[in-house]
Amino acid sequence: MRDVIVIGAGGGGPVVAKELAARGLSVLLLEAGARHADPRAEWTHFENDANNPLTGFLRFGPADRTKPAWFRELPQNSFLFQVAGVGGTTQHYFGNCPRAYPGVFAGYDGPDAAAYDTAHRFPLRYADLVPYYEWVEATLPVQTAAMGRKERTFFDGCEAIGLAVQTTKTTLGDSFRPQQNAILQPGGTAGLTRDVTQLAFPQATGCTLCGYCLQGCMEPIRAPRNLFAKRSTDNSYVPMALTADAWSPGGVPVALIADAYATRILTQTVNGQLVATGVTWRIGATGEVHTETAQVVVMAGGTTESPRLWFNSGLPNPNDWVGRGYTDHYFDLMVGLFDKATDSSRGAASAARADFPGHGGMENIGLGPALQAFAMQLSDSGARGFYSNGRGFTGPWDGPSGRPIGPELKDALQNGIDRLLNLLILTDDDVEAQNRVVLSALPADEHGPVPKVIFRPRNRTARTLANREFLVRKATDILRGAGATKVFRLDWAPLILHVQSTMRMGMSADDSVLDDTAEARWVKRLFIADNSALANALGGPNPTLTSQALATRTAEQIFQRYFGGAPWVTRESPVVSTDDRVTQAVIARGL
């Protein structure tokens, strides 16, 4: 029997695993996808090789790339951007680590208190989470992002409209700033040269501004895994988890099994109470099925996958909120064309942002040509100039919203991938019961019935819709202020990428699945530590940091409640994931 089994080695699972391994617990970490142990031998920077959702090495599918990806039913025009493999979606994330707005937590009484999703606040105060934010920010570590030309362009636009500069970690009002990124900032020759012979570790350290955050980080060349620039969990928490004995007195290395798809949570009734007792999983390469027992089980497979596993395990759903309340920041994309260089495809993929608490935020994002083209074809407004699907919104941008097609798309991209600026709109969207995960009626796969993700973008709350409209206008102002000669509004169909709150913790037992410790209300010894545990959409900020802070808190709760331990976050200092003890162990063990 293990002390703890963690299902999913994405953004949250490795946090719980690393924290509890450091306390001396025996932890098994299961990952459904591949473990890319040698990125230089397995990865490239090429977009189709990396990001093709059907065949790319960062797709959502089996470790064996010759097998088809996993099917998820989407009964609407939308795109579900999942990633399998150790690191999960942090493999392709941009490392953006803003904290949630204080207004989304219990007890908030600021003057704008009514501006948030007041019906679905976190069942804890912002101040309660701050120590955990600080712990994660120190562990990853999170640093202020350097500036390249696309950030300079964005800042020019923000300055032009008179937006305030934010110089704190807590967002207090409308403002812009460099991102707080989980990226080691450039050192040595990094950021100063494009000469590949000058860009190997240790001559170069940290971010080389290569522009390939979305393709998985393996920079600088020849750096030890835990010193790769981007702090995706495969480069930070997982190396720490696997070497816990090397840097934590009494620590026990986590056992990691990849290509292991959890298919069932085992339970039994003890004293009239349902209790989690173990996990069954299937090895992709062989089809072998394994079962192990554990004192505690932690679900961390993701916002779409955790509800699926819950349903497929036959676990109770007495208030019918399992899978409901899916939030996605109701993204939109604004693309500005310039007659000057912006270097959009270069540098950290997103190193600047603006926040508008009560409405949401926005950030610049850099993409390569294939994903830029993809991003400019995703729309709920049809084809500009031809049909609008009943939308085709007009505003301060140029022409109606919608995808430019054919000659117009080609003209826009021929203007130059490095002469445009993308602003990703992060709407503060409401928790709504209608947006949800259910089991598909389509045929099951080898892991059981598959999830179906239902979004009704045209039927979102008035507050959500108004927030999105507010933000696209602000973004247009910023792009124009920065000198854009043409601004497209894509009116994206749901791009389900920032995913939250399908197994939400909540203040009320009527509309939540988890209590305020992230333990399931109806199954004891079962916790959730992925984005699905978040109570709401955080007000718009990117979710990973908050999920990791909450996962750290959840680890403490597990240790105290079921292993008789003492909390540590407010009593100890964190070990940074770049610590030399971790590095030496990573090298010695060939990790």
Partner: protein
């Protein structure tokens, strides 16, 4: 309403099968063919004959879509009225990209692709027909028996081929909506009615697929057994957007120039040429892009 045999002929013409068959299988499916000729072949032989024909039809149709996505100096771009001097999607290998991804990797379960494709084929056959009779001139030759066999063969292929080649039903769908928006597309250059459309008509054809209120969606739903009804129409809506997105991704990506054995490029991808990406073709391990830190601030705290 057309008689059943006429409906079948018209339907097969509209999805491009009769036209392609007449061109590629002279004597079998052309106006001169007799029902007896094909009836003697039997279903199995006809399936074998038709499979490559349908493959060519699918390719021709998707060529038309790829040129619609990113036009270039190719015949398909010229036919739609938007030729461009620079290379476009055809030159970028966009058609191969779409076919490979649709057929080999799009992870729709066979169990849904087959009934959905069959529903598509049978449902489309019964849709109202806004086609002037004279346009059908050359395709009414084969007898009732022949037409029935051809339809059965198409159904057999979409329902039974082990690889569930999604490119075929997608192409048949594009051709069908092409004839809805412009019945004159039944005849002309290319195998595919969709490829014969003007750029604006191609957009109107896509509108038929993508529009939420499309009667096509409702009709296909009605042909699929519960509990799959809303799933099939939902997938169709997904497909409408996905075709645009995937074609663009393929047209601007590196797949045509990527050698998986060496994990390197054999040349400069068209999308990189068009967008000026990596102008000096360097490996992409870093840029001299560091301008410093905004307001020289390297750290922030709440303290």
């Amino acid at each position: 309403m057309a008689a059943p045999d006429l409906s079948r002929r018209i339907f097969l013409a509209r999805i491009g099968v009769l036209g392609a068959g007449a061109l590629l299988l002279p004597g079998c499916l052309g106006p001169a063919a007799t029902g007896t000729d094909l009836a003697e072949l039997g279903l199995g032989a006809l399936v074998d004959l038709l499979r490559p024909v349908l493959g060519q039809l699918a390719r021709d149709t998707l060529n038309g879509f790829v040129a619609f996505s990113v036009p270039g100096p190719d015949d398909y771009s010229r036919a739609q009225g938007t030729p461009r001097p620079e290379p476009g999607g055809i030159a970028a290998g966009g058609t191969d990209f779409l076919i490979q991804n649709l057929d080999r990797f799009l992870p729709f379960p066979d169990e849904i692709v087959r009934p959905a494709a069959a529903a598509l084929v049978t449902a489309l056959a019964d849709l109202p027909l806004p086609i002037a009779g004279k346009l059908l001139g050359g395709i009414l030759g084969p007898s009732v028996v022949t037409i029935g066999l051809v339809e059965n063969a198409v159904l057999f292929i979409v329902q039974n081929d082990s690889a569930a080649p999604l490119s075929l039903p997608v192409a048949l769908l594009l051709n069908y909506v092409a004839t809805v928006v412009n019945p004159a597309s039944l005849d002309g250059a290319f195998l595919s009615p969709f490829a014969r459309l003007s750029f604006a008509d191609k957009a109107r054809a896509m509108q038929q697929i993508e529009t939420v209120q499309s009667g096509l969606v409702a009709l296909i739903d009605s042909r699929v057994p519960q509990p799959l009804q809303s799933s099939v129409s939902g997938l169709l809506q997904f497909l409408g957007g996905a075709l645009y997105e995937f074609a663009a991704f393929g047209n601007f990506g590196e797949s045509q120039r990527f050698d998986p054995a060496t994990r390197s490029l054999t040349g400069r991808p068209v999308g990189w040429q068009l967008t000026g990406f990596l102008p000096d073709n360097q490996t992409g391990d870093g840029w001299d892009e560091l301008l410093g830190y905004y307001q020289d601030r390297r750290e922030v705290t709440d303290a």
